[in-house]
Structure formats: C-alpha cells, structure tokens
Symmetry: C2
Subunit: 232 residues, 2 copies
C-alpha cells in the first residue's frame, strides 16, 4: 500500500505542550476511567480536532504489528471480548495505520540504518505497564512457539475484525428494527428481539446498557423478555 | 452443576494397552497430521466406541480451566481463528467436561487434601511441548496482570463459543440454501452466496475446500464468484 499525502508529523515539543493543555488526571477522575484510557480519549479527540482545522483527509498513527500482538493478548487476558481480541484495525473512520504490518523491530532497524532521529519514550521500558510487561517478558516466549508471531496475529486480527463487524452489523439491524429510544430508556419489540440469535441480543443489550452487570444481561437476553412485560 | 451418573474411569493399565492397540505414528503419517493430533483423534474415537458398547450417556473428560487458558492462547499464537480461540467447550455432543471451571491447582489441592491417588504424566513437565511451555513459563506472567486469569478466560470462552456457533449457524444456512454437492465438487448458487456477509462466505469456503490457500479463499469469497462462471 502506498500513501500519497501531505503528512503532518507531531514532534516532541508539541507532545509536551499537549500534555500541559489537558488535565488528563481530572478527566479520568470525572469520567471514572483509568489514566491510560483518559489519555487515549483526549489524544484521539485532539487529533481529530487538528485534522479538521487543517483540512486534512486522514490521521496516520504509528501502531505496528507488535503493538497489535500486545493489544490482542491484553484483551484476551483482561476479558475484553471479540472486539478487543480482534486487535488494532488498519483503518477506522479518519484514522489509518500505515505501519500496522511492520514489527517494532523492523521499524527500529530502519530508523537506525537510515540515521533518522527519533524520540524514545522511556516509560516504554517500565514493566509496571502491562503492555511493556507483555512486550519484554511474554512475547519473547511466544515467539519460541511461533517465530512469525506478528504476521500470524495480524492475519488473525483481520479475520476477527471482519467477523466482529458482521456481528455488530446484525446487532445494528436488531436495533434499527426492534429498539426505539424513549425518555429514560428504550422500547424493545419483544418479538423482533427474540427473533435474533442470543449472541446478537447480548451484544445489543451490552451496548444499550453498558453499566448493567454481565449476569443481568445474560438473564435478559436469555428469557426475561420472553414473559410479558407491563405495558406490552 | 451436578452429575449423577455411573462413572467408568480409565486407569493406567488401560491407557498403556490402548497405546499398544493403536499405531498412532502410522495413523499420523497416513493422514499427514501431527502425532498429537493423531493421538487426539484416536483417543476420542476409542472413547465414543466404549461409550456405545457400554450403553453410557456421556463421556466425562478432565479438562480444566487452566487447560482452557492454554488452548485459547495457543490458538491465538498459532493463528487458529475464532473456533480455536474460543477454547474448550463444556459440552459437545456426547462429551461433557465437569471440571472445566476449576483451575488445575484447585484439582491438585483437592486430590492431595483427600489422599486420592492419581497418575502424573511426566511428559507434562517437558517444556518442548508448547502447552507445557505456556503453562510453566507464560501463564505465571499473565497472572501478574490478571490474578483471576482462569475465571476471566472461561467467561470469555463461553461468549466466544456462542458467537462462533452463531457464525457457524449462518454458514450452515448458506450451505443449505446455496450449495449442492456434486461429483467432484460443489455447485454454488452465485446470487445466494453473495447475499451473505463476506465473513460467512469465507467460513463456508474454508469448510468446503480445506486444502485451499487462505488467499485463494479470500479472492473467491470476495469477488471471483461475482463474474459469470462457465456453465452458469
């Protein structure tokens, strides 16, 4: 693949001023999310803002095939479900990731061989971050089992992402045909809801009521809607 | 869950005579599969034979939650796709796995505490088996990130198995409506085939033509059937 485009490349000073401009800690506390998640949300929002202001087509991010392995593994370990286990997409809306098929090692080698200066984030060495922990302590073991780890997992990621997208698509159809937003909640058409597969029902409920416990979701997806509900 | 049933428990001598009765090596060579895979096929076939002969309802196997973690990880590392990543099912046809929610450590503790004699397969210690390698060298690291690794991954396995079963179900519908077996191959109804999602088409092709390369499958699933084929 070849990208012919004007590239806007962030540098270290810009990163610093960015960190100062946003109070990530406060945002995390307010939204009750982790510091990492807060940083992620703010970063993507800022990039989209910049893209818009400068009239650019895409935001190109530097995620690579090794990042993808870490994301897939971390999602599996932490119980994130298919959308997480499917890893990092090559393209999502205005975001593209032209380096996603390269291992981090290949990128480092290229930079060194061509004497290209680069910024090394020293927090990438701290083993207290699960991501670094995986990169330095776990991936080397997994490469003993499969030396083409990155390539294999990129391949799997692509397939899982498509399968996940299909399940989302069916879920969207359920919502379109059977769910109407009303004040304080949703009106769900029982007959249409139950005509969909259990997995699809569960996904839709999880999306609509993301603070609902998993066992409650299962219960509702399974049979609670199968009895008459007041007003229906 | 409670199983009230007459249990037929295999012992060490039976295992040995079983190994002698079947030439696993020859079977593996003949079928061009690995020794492990050949052992698996022969083992399951023998168990089903025994079940039938003795008129029993189920075959209860000892797979536990730690085995499930290994299977899920190994599938992810080796590029096995959703059906593999979804791990070990609690029930499949005549096979049940009553220990699937227990960690291997819990089972060992129980046996020791109750002075129950058990057979320890020393090949389980050899790190040249990827499964043991994961168990002894990788899982301990992953438990640092998630101490409830087994529980989380059992939960994920259940969801992924249901989502995978749904995708299989849709694929079966495609085959039922759009695929007919003919001598030397299959007759595929182009219009019906293309009315299904790409992911489903790919799964069906993979199932029908399991010796087809992945890129050929993608090409056919994507557009090759979109042009007129001779005879159609």
């Amino acid at each position: 693949m070849k990208y012919e485009t004007r590239l806007f490349v962030g540098n270290d000073n810009q990163t610093k001023s960015l960190a100062e401009r946003f109070d990530v800690k406060r945002y995390a506390r307010r939204k009750r999310i982790s510091l990492e998640e807060a940083g992620r949300v703010i970063r993507y929002r800022f990039l989209e803002e910049m893209r818009n202001k400068k009239g650019l087509d895409f935001i190109a991010l530097g995620h690579n095939a090794t990042d993808n392995c870490e994301t897939m593994l971390l999602s599996l370990i932490k119980g994130k479900g298919l959308s997480g286990i499917a890893g990092i997409p090559e393209k999502r809306e205005r975001i593209i990731r032209p380096l996603i098929d390269l291992k981090s090692e290949e990128i480092d080698d290229f930079l060194k061989k061509n004497n290209i200066p680069y910024v090394f984030d020293t927090t990438n060495l701290s083993l207290s971050h699960p991501r670094n922990y995986l990169r330095h302590l776990v991936l080397p073991f997994l490469r003993e089992i499969n030396p083409n780890l990155e390539e294999t997992m990129r391949h799997t990621a692509r397939i899982l992402q498509e399968e996940d997208a299909y399940l989302k698509e069916v879920g969207a159809k359920l919502k379109e045909n059977g769910v109407r937003k009303i004040s304080g909640g949703y009106l769900i058409d029982k007959k249409i809801f139950l005509s969909y597969n259990f997995s699809v029902r569960r996904r839709v409920l999880k999306e609509l009521f993301d603070d609902m416990s998993y066992s409650d979701i299962e219960r509702v997806a399974d049979h609670a809607l199968d009895v008459d509900i007041k007003g229906q």
